[in-house]
Symmetry: C2
Subunit: 226 residues, 2 copies
């Protein structure tokens, strides 16, 4: 695909329609880097950078190990959900099972571990639905999304002290409605439900979504998926 | 809707299917609160809390003013997009116009300001598509999503020094494919494209999506939408 280059936020010339512009003029160069805050869970990096317009700016962001989201289906109509209190917002949220990568952990292994720890289920069938970045302005977090099927309940879950959650199930089509009606506002769960719908739509009409990725081995052209 | 209560991550009893459990047993109580890091852009709050299981834990999170995303359509087939370098991930991203709320700023006013600053466009017609939380584990950020139509280019944009971005357009159906093929991994843009599709689907078949919200005056049942 041919690409047009623009600098600054110029008006949109007709030639740029449908094309993503080139990126060479956007790169920011690190001049100085340090860990400005090293907390219990959060590490903040504060760098000085030279921007594409030669302006020298400060860039601050959270260093995050990455995370996984599990769309877990006990049967082909139903998804496993959790309600968990999220202190930053002082209220509970309806979410899909999810968790952070341990150092060096493979995302699929993380998804299998988190599903078992949080819900007590294992799954015999895993598909990778994709990956996304949830806060590109101030975090390097990437969330990989897996579909887990052929579930088996193998015993009590093993959450950590302070990690209290309520597991329940819902029809996935109802969840999909919750993501547009405001019942579910957690973005990873919104995307999980949306990608599940696409996954099923593709199965019903394969030619309609040939570009969408599925399967654990497929890469992520636009992302730095691990 | 009747709700069942569970404590811990118990197996899913049939009675819980399709119901969201009650929340009283999940609440975390603040014991101590402080700003642990006050940076240039990022403020980290570090609190000690008593969890629902009586465990005393540390909770750290980013205090964020909130943000807006603008799905801006120069015509009914096309969306305005930007390519911007995101230092946290050391690469550029395809995104919809977006920005942070100024202190006390109304989200719609913020959306109108950001659209003009970043792209040079005003819009005569605004609809609120919803709002979501993008990092409930470590940020109180909420992103409100607006659809902007009847656009008019009124002059050069006015981004700040260091804010370099390339504006371009794409057919919204192509954008939708990009959000599942990995070309677009920015979550706010994924959700914006998805909610735009729902908005249009509802217009074509109003009965199918009566629960989905639209219009600037409608509230957000599950969120703390401002």
């Amino acid at each position: 695909m041919a690409e047009d280059s623009e600098s600054g936020a110029a008006p949109v010339p007709p030639a740029a329609a449908g094309k993503t512009p080139s990126v060479s003029s956007l790169v920011e160069v690190t001049l100085e880097s340090k860990v400005a805050y090293d907390g219990v869970f959060i590490q903040v990096v504060r760098d000085r950078v030279r921007c594409a317009d030669d302006h020298v700016a400060v860039r601050e962001y959270i260093r995050h190990p990455g995370a996984v989201l599990i769309v877990a289906m006990p049967d082909d109509q139903t998804v496993l959900l959790e309600r968990q209190y999220r202190y930053a917002l002082r209220r509970s949220f309806v979410e899909m099972p999810a968790g952070k990568l341990e150092p060096g952990e493979d995302p699929l292994a993380c998804a299998q571990r988190e599903l078992l720890e949080e819900t007590g289920y294992t799954a015999a069938r895993w598909d990778r639905l994709g990956a996304f970045h949830n806060a590109i302005g101030y975090s390097d977090e990437q969330i990989a999304v897996y579909l887990a099927r052929d579930l088996r309940f193998v015993g009590a879950s093993s959450t950590e002290p302070g990690e209290v959650l309520q597991v329940f199930t819902a029809p996935w089509r109802e969840l999909l409605q919750w993501t547009t009606s405001g019942v579910v506002t957690d973005v990873k769960t919104i995307v999980g439900a949306h990608w599940l719908e696409r996954f099923f739509a593709r199965g019903a009409a394969p030619s309609a979504g040939a570009d969408a990725r599925a399967g654990p081995s497929q890469g992520l052209p636009g992302g730095s998926a691990s």
